[in-house]
Amino acid sequence: MAIQIRVPTILRSYTGGQKVVEASGETLADVLTDLDSRHPGIRARLVTEDGGLHKFVNVYVNDEDVRFLGALDAKVADGDTVTILPAVAGGAPAVAHPES
């Protein structure tokens, strides 16, 4: 079962610089575990200690954000593409406070 994983620049240190790698599994959770067995350390950048997906990454299966597919329970099938992108977000308090 081959699932294509597209990896952003910031995570390519785990994949030896490769932009696209392969993994297998029937759910995203399985795929990430398999991915980590081939590229150690990458899973910790994607999954928190509590076992949920990090808010700092967007993960897609084909065209859909996995948030809408059950997150780590998202089903994946042979030939699917998982795309990982760093979340682009930020914020600032509504009221100015002394810079800490």
Partner: protein, 135 residues
């Protein structure tokens, strides 16, 4: 954000993005729009060169949240503060491994008085800064 050829450090293509958070104090790319835009960039061998946003009530310095989310280490994080109605602050930073390094900014081809830039000389800035990107 402003895209440019991978490795070029040249901001060439302005891509205004929707703030899906629709908030004055938090911003995030719309997930689906981001994927579409990313795929187009990838096809064109581009990467984000500038990622900009504004702070409506605080200074133009990356917040803790900004720093924690900065996931494109090669990008220039441009911050615009609109807290003062008379004076707009524009500052730029590199953010990698949670380390913020400020870089100088120089306004070119501006429609404002060039002496209005009081500090932060040298460096690169897109000719047009999109002030509509709020928060």
């Amino acid at each position: 954000m402003v895209a440019g050829p991978i490795g070029s450090d040249e901001p060439r293509r302005l891509i205004p993005m929707v703030n899906a958070a629709r908030s004055m104090t938090f911003y995030e790319f719309d997930s689906a729009e981001y994927l579409r835009v990313w795929r187009e960039m990838d096809e064109r061998d581009e990467e984000p060169v500038v990622i900009y946003h504004s702070h409506t009530a605080t200074e133009a310095y990356p917040s803790r949240t900004d720093i924690s989310y900065a996931g494109w280490p090669q990008a220039h994080y441009l911050l615009v503060s609109t807290r003062d109605p008379e004076l707009t602050e524009i500052r730029s930073y590199r953010i990698a491994d949670s380390t913020v390094t400020e870089e100088p900014v120089r306004v070119v081809n501006a429609t404002v008085d060039s002496t209005a830039v009081q500090t932060y000389m040298f460096g690169h800035l897109p000719a047009d800064v999109d002030y509509e990107c709020r928060a």
